[in-house]
Each structure stands twice: as structure tokens, then as C-alpha cells.
Symmetry: C4
Subunit: 262 residues, 4 copies
């Protein structure tokens, strides 16, 4: 009952730096990662929890992720470099996210993935817990959801008394295995993780996965048969609609700046 | 998987100017179109996507529409003139919306239409994908919805592997055909398009179509029979309630200005 | 199809002053009525439409109501005095609400009523159109809803081709008849009207009627039997909970001032 | 029908001070309690109603609670000290909450409880009134909800004509009895009460109880079987996830300050 700041399953969140940092990442990459944190908060994808990482632009075996804090408050000095094992290399004692293993193991599994968003966005959570129901692409903005997102059931890899957190490389690998044929994976009783070829694409997908979930929840309540995107439509939407990812990004950056500069 | 800034089905969104611009439209028309963009964003009808056009006041074979950008950020210098074929005449290299064909083909089909709004507003999308369900006028503010809005199924005109976008004159015409007896048409897995006799009326209808959809979704979940407006009631509401379109417009303009002047 | 600023069923909304104004109402009453307009907008009960009136404190056969405008923008100079027939006495050519007859006829019917709110709040509208479903008190803040609010069906008094507006004394009386045993009446395909012994009580009830509707919509979707308040509970809640009406009023006034003073 | 500022069942809310105050509580405790009031309002857990108390840090037989006012407006000078009987000791004539008995009786029953939140948050209320439905932990942030929160039915202790308020020590004890094996109790037709080992934990739980309810309402509408947390998962989540309670607290404090300082 008594809250506890350390996490038994994953070792302490105050992890010790395991190696030397790589060459400094491009300043623009850090800047994008910081504003991506703010956007995910502003757009309601994350609250105090959830995180976004990017693969290091000079060392593909490293990734960048904020220290343990609310995304809406992240600044450039809060970004830490990690190995794919989830070990920080320049934390200097700062606390890190319990679930950093999500990121490292996906980057290891999928060399094309450049950014990862983990969140508990509001309409996605209900779709993780209903037997026989899968998130599926319902409108053209979310073709990347495809013909049915897999649901990661942590009981299979971790037993039925876990805290549902991806707090070890073992659990990270079990989750990453679901990304072989998919760009979004739901996590039962928890949330979802979505990947992209860039920060902007991953942010775009996190926002529109939530909207797809919201529309699907509403459509399914009407009782009639729901027409989802066909496989061909999903693919075409990814090709063409996601070519416009800069448009929402520009808007969201402007909103993020306006909110923070008052 | 790799995002792509050009659009194969419609030719590049960087369309080449096809003709000379007409005489300059009235400054008040441009001003209304700009604030209409802001209102649609403020009122939640559009996010970074969706658009509103107006027929050129001096050349009925031309229409005005913003360049490819989020509506909430549009300024007067972003407005471009188009032919009814959807070709820009003064884009000067600026990127244009992939779906400009929606606007041109409707103006061609319906000479009484002076403004067109295309959006993916939140409660409308679910009503585009459920078999046997049609958006129908449920309250007096939305008489224009009438006795059941048609749902445009792009598979009929474009096959089952499109990106769902109205990215050609062919698809634009197929959509416009649904407007013969209707002022709003839903688009499966996509959103809706609504028309009006003025910018103010089209904005009004876009806002209240979303509310009608929201109320209909909720009413249908209760299981009992729903009483929709009769045909006579729908007509009377259009005649009388829409006579008050200036009231919300004044409020929305005030809100749009307050938000932008901070 | 062409919008029309006058209203055929009720005569012009530019009504001619019919009599001399009474003695000036207390300044505090006007001030309360103005801030009540702002509160109803801030709290989401009204948008550009809907209105609140108060009975004249020195002439019980008169009431005070804003001119035809969005409630969120009302200032003290916009308040007009009306006879119970709905005729303005000091409009001086300003346009008035089409539905002023709601207010006059209720004040005539119920001498204990001092304030009336008419609105189309979001969760109430769906509950006006489903056969066999009635708004009923579901929690202690809304005891005034009682054992089932009546639904006014305008077709009974006005036929099946009206614009649903209460645009005449005849329709106003038909609506007012439903208030004999009730303090809130739903209006099919339109919204609701709620009364109170003071501006503060009527505003309180308008806000909590919307919440009661929202909770009832959600509870009814779960399929199980819903426990509503008993008749004794409803009465006790009105007696005791509504004794605290000053608490939300103080909060709402503070919010209304903060929003308007930036 | 006439509102009444005193409460017959509980004696006047203008309670007379019954004893001498204890030694002054730590300034930081008062400060936390004040900001907790603001956070609960900002995060949508309370509106003008609802309250949070903390056990006195120097006298475990006393607790601290604001005077009768909206939580969002509470300042340090509004905090009053109470005995566990719910009698104020330094109200000096200020009006107190009718339902202060909730707090005293829970502190008496559960010596480990240091903070109590009572609210009517939006998604919880519907779950208090449907037969056969219980709030249950659906995601990892809300393990404290456990395997089914009890619903307090006031009719058992107070008959079927109460105002549903916990306005006496008798009713407070009947409610407190439900907390023996639970940290959250729903109250039929009313709301809920949640306890914690600190202000921060109680606030965290009040926020995430609302989200759990929201997700559960949505999941149950899909018709399929819902997978809730197992008993072991619930326990592990309380142990580990609630160890991170400082993260949302820091965010919420920042938001509360920003909103109040403009």
C-alpha cells in the first residue's frame, strides 16, 4: 500500500551510466524531440505519463529520451542518451523512465524505425481490454493502423501479477516482437506504442491513432456492420496522406510555442 | 511506408498556374474567408486538415481557397484563385490542397452554391462507416441535413484501393453528383462536405452538422425509436432558423479575434 | 433555401414597443442577469443560442431579457423590458428573440417563477427525441428534475411542419401548460426550458440539468437497471442541496469576470 | 421548493467551535492542501462541489478542511481544523461543509489514511446507479480500485427520503465501514470518496479513478468480455505505479500556478 520510488522488477530507475555517450546529436533533432514532447501533451496524447524517443542520428545503436518527468515540461537539458539495452550513458544520476526498454528493443528489432511514442491516450485504453475487439483503420488519416492492431498481453511473457509496465529487456523484447508486421501495438490494460520513420511521423500517428480509436468506439456502438479501410486503402493512405505530415506539425509547433510563451 | 510529398493520383500538389487571375475579389470576401478558416478551427470542425472555399464574386467560374496549410493559420495572402477544374491561377508555386477538386466540381454542378466546407469533424466520421445508418436532421438547428444525408462511397468511382481523397476531377464529379438534392454529403471513412449560399451559412452548417451527428450518435445508443424532424419541419427550420446565421457569426468572429490577439 | 431574417409565424422579430416601461429595475438585478448570460455561455449551457430572463422586480407583469444576440456578449444596455405577451416596451427598434413567448407565458402561468432559462445544452437534446425515455433525477444535485421531465411535442399544438420554435403566444401557452407540476420541460428536437425562484437558482438548474442528462445517457448504455432518486430523495435534495446555490454562483461569477478581463 | 441555507438533518452548517485548536500544522501541509484543492478543480475532479482534507500532522485526532466554498478558490486562510466528530475548532463563525462527517469518520476508522477526497467526478456518477455494475481496475494507473469498489447505498442507513448527503456522524460511520478493505467507495446517486497515505496519493487516485471509470464505461459498451486487472496486477500496480506519484503532482502544481498567475 505504501508507495515506493524504486521498481523491483527493473532495478532502480536511478540507473548507473553504462558507457560513454556518442557524438552529440544534431541540435535540430533535440529541438524536435523537445517540441514533440510538448505537442503530445498539448494534443492530449500523454498526461504526466507516456514518452517519445528518437534514434540517435550519429549512432543507430543509441536513442534519446527525456529523464523521468512529465512530457509537457521537458526541456533540451532533460534529454538523455541510452544504449539499446535501455542503459543511460549520460544520466549523471538523474532518474529515468521505468519503461525505457520499450524503446531500445523496438529500435533493435526494426532498423527502419526512427521514433517511438508510448502513451495511454483516452480512447485507446478501452480498446485494449475487450475480447474480440481490435483497433482497425476506420478513416483515411489512420491507414497505418491497418487491418487490426495486435494487443500485447503481458501475462504471456510476465505472468498474471505484473504491474503491466515494460520494465525489463525481457518484456521489451516480447513487446517488440509484435512490431514485425505492424506500426502500432496495443497493450492490454495499459495503452499503446506507435513507431514512425521520423519524430514527425510518430507524433502524427500517435495523434491519429487516438482519433481512430475514438471514432471506432462510437461506430461500434451503433450496432450496424462497420466498414473499415481495405488493405489497399490502408496502404494508399499511408503513402499519400502521411505525405502531408508537415502540415499538422507546423500547426502543433505554433500551438506549443504559443502556450509556453503565454 | 516512406511518406511522399507528391500525390500520384492527382498529379503534384505543386500545380502550375493555368490561366490569368480574374479581377480582384472584394476585400470583404477575402476577409470573411480568412476568418471563416479560423472559426472552423476554433469551433472544432477542422484540425490541421479540412478547408473552406468561396465562389469568386466577380467571376462565377472561379473560386478562392487557401494554399496547402492548416486553416487556423490562414492569412489573406494565403488565398489562391482557382478555375472550376481545380487549377490555380495565381499560386506562383505555392502548394495547393490535394482535394481542391471537391470545390470546383460542386460550384460547377450547383450554381446556387457560394461556399463549400470540407471537414473530418469528430462526430460525423463514425456516421460515415456504419451500414444502414444515415445522418438525419434531429434538431431545429440542423434542418438542412434533411431526411438522410447520402454517403459517398469512393469505391464506386475509384475502386477499393484509393487513399479516399478526392484528388481528381473525376472523383470530384462523382462526389458533386450527390449534391443534386442535398446540401450535405458524408464521405465513407473520411468526413463530409457541406455547402451554403454564403460563407456564413456554410460555416453555420458545418458547425451544426457536427452537433447533429453528436446528438444522433447519443440518441441511437438508447435503443428506443428516434423521432427525427419531418420533411416539413426540416424545410421550416432552414427558412427560419438559418435566418439567424448572423448571431453565431458575430460571436465566432469575436472569439477568433480574441484568440489571435491574445 | 434562402435565409430570411424575419419570422413568418411570429411576425417580425423587430417588434414595435407596445407600452411604457415600468419603473427601472434594481441595478443589481440587471447586473445579475448580465453575468448569468455570461455564465450560461462559459459553462456550456448555451452557445450563440438560448436565453435567460428574470421577472421585473417592481412590475411582476413584466420581464427582462436581452435583445437578439449571443448570451456570452450581452451587456447591461442590451437588456429589454417585455410584457407577458412578449411585446417589448423599450426595444427602440432593436431586434428581439423569436422565442420570447416562452418566458412571458411561463411567468403568467407560474407566479412563483422569477427566472427562466431556455437552452439546447448538449446532453439534453438527445433525451428529447427517444421514445419511451424521460430525463429523470439521477443524482443529488438535480433533485429538481424529479420523477420524469415532460417532453413538449410541438406537433400537438402546431402541426408537423413548424420550425420547432416557440414563436407565438399560442405555442408559449402550450409549453407553459407543462410547467404546472414541473420545473423543467424538455422540447422534442429542440432543447429544454428550466425555471427557478431566482436567477441563481435557474442558472444552477440549467447547469445541473445538463450534467444529469449526461450521466443518464451514460448509465442507460450499460444495460442494467438504473436507480433514480426516489420522490422523497428528489424533494429533500431540492430543499437542502439547492440551499448551497451561492457556492457555484460565486465560482462562476469569478470565472466569468476573469475570462472577460483577460 | 424554496432554497434553504441551513441543513435540517445535520444541524446548521454554521457550526459552533467545540474545542481549542491543536498546535499549528506544518506550513507545507497547508500549502499542499490549498494547491490540492486547485488541482482537483483544474483536473476536472470537482466543480463548485467536492472537498479534500488532510489529517493534522501534529494531532492525529484532528483534520484540516476548507470552509464551505468552491475548491478552486480556496486560500490558506480558508483552512479550518476539525475534530473527528466533524466539529470545527477554529471556524470563528465561518460556514463549513455539510459533509465534513465523511472525513472525520474515515480518519477514525483507518489510522493509515492521511488524506480524503470526496467528489462527483463525471464518469464515476453513472457507475454508482446501475445495478450489477461495479467500478473495477481496468488499467495500470488505477490498481487501487481493485477487484470492485463497493457502492454505498444511503437508503440502508438513512431511509429512502434523504438528500443523499453524508450530513451526520451516523451516516459518516456507515460510509466509513465500507473502507475496511477498500480505498475507494462509490456513493449511489452521488459520487465517490477516495483515500490515500498522503495528499499527493489521494489526489492522484481521485484523478485516475475518474479515468478508470471513463474507460470502463466505454469498454462495457462494446459488448465483449472485459479483461480487468487481476488481484495480483492491482497490488503490483499500487506498489510500483503509485511510486511515481510525484511526477503528475509536479505537473499539476505547475499548471495550477500558471492558471492562477495568469
Amino acid at each position: 500500500m505504501c508507495p515506493n520510488d524504486t521498481h523491483p522488477a527493473s532495478g532502480a530507475a536511478d540507473a548507473v551510466d553504462s558507457a560513454k555517450p556518442g557524438p552529440p546529436p544534431a541540435a535540430a533533432l533535440i529541438e524536435d524531440l523537445v517540441v514533440a514532447n510538448h505537442i503530445l501533451f498539448d494534443q492530449g496524447v500523454v498526461d504526466a505519463f507516456g514518452h517519445i524517443s528518437v534514434r540517435h542520428d550519429k549512432r543507430p545503436d543509441r536513442f534519446l529520451l527525456a529523464r523521468n518527468m512529465a512530457p509537457g515540461r521537458v526541456a533540451s537539458e532533460d534529454i538523455i542518451e541510452f544504449s539499446l539495452d535501455g542503459d543511460p550513458v549520460n544520466a549523471a544520476g538523474r532518474r529515468v523512465y521505468l519503461e525505457r526498454f520499450i524503446h531500445g528493443e523496438i529500435y533493435r528489432k526494426r532498423s527502419d524505425v526512427m521514433a517511438v511514442v508510448h502513451s495511454h491516450s483516452h480512447s485507446v485504453v478501452p480498446l485494449t481490454v475487450v475480447k474480440g475487439v481490435r483497433l482497425r483503420a476506420i478513416f483515411h488519416m489512420a491507414g497505418f493502423v491497418g487491418q487490426g492492431a495486435p494487443v500485447f498481453e503481458i501475462r504471456e511473457a510476465g505472468g498474471d501479477a505484473t504491474d503491466l509496465l515494460i520494465s525489463s529487456n525481457h518484456l521489451g523484447r516480447a513487446l517488440a516482437d509484435h512490431f514485425v508486421d505492424h506500426d502500432i501495438v496495443l497493450m492490454r490494460g495499459h495503452g499503446s506504442t506507435v513507431v514512425g520513420g521520423s519524430i514527425r511521423q510518430a507524433v502524427y500517428r500517435a495523434v491519429y491513432a487516438e482519433l481512430n480509436a475514438r471514432y471506432q468506439l462510437q461506430a461500434m456502438q451503433l450496432g450496424g456492420e462497420v466498414t473499415f479501410l481495405s488493405e489497399g486503402e490502408s496502404r494508399a493512405c499511408v503513402q499519400n496522406v502521411e505525405g502531408q505530415v508537415q502540415r499538422p506539425w507546423d500547426l502543433w509547433v505554433e500551438q506549443a510555442r504559443a502556450r509556453r510563451n503565454g
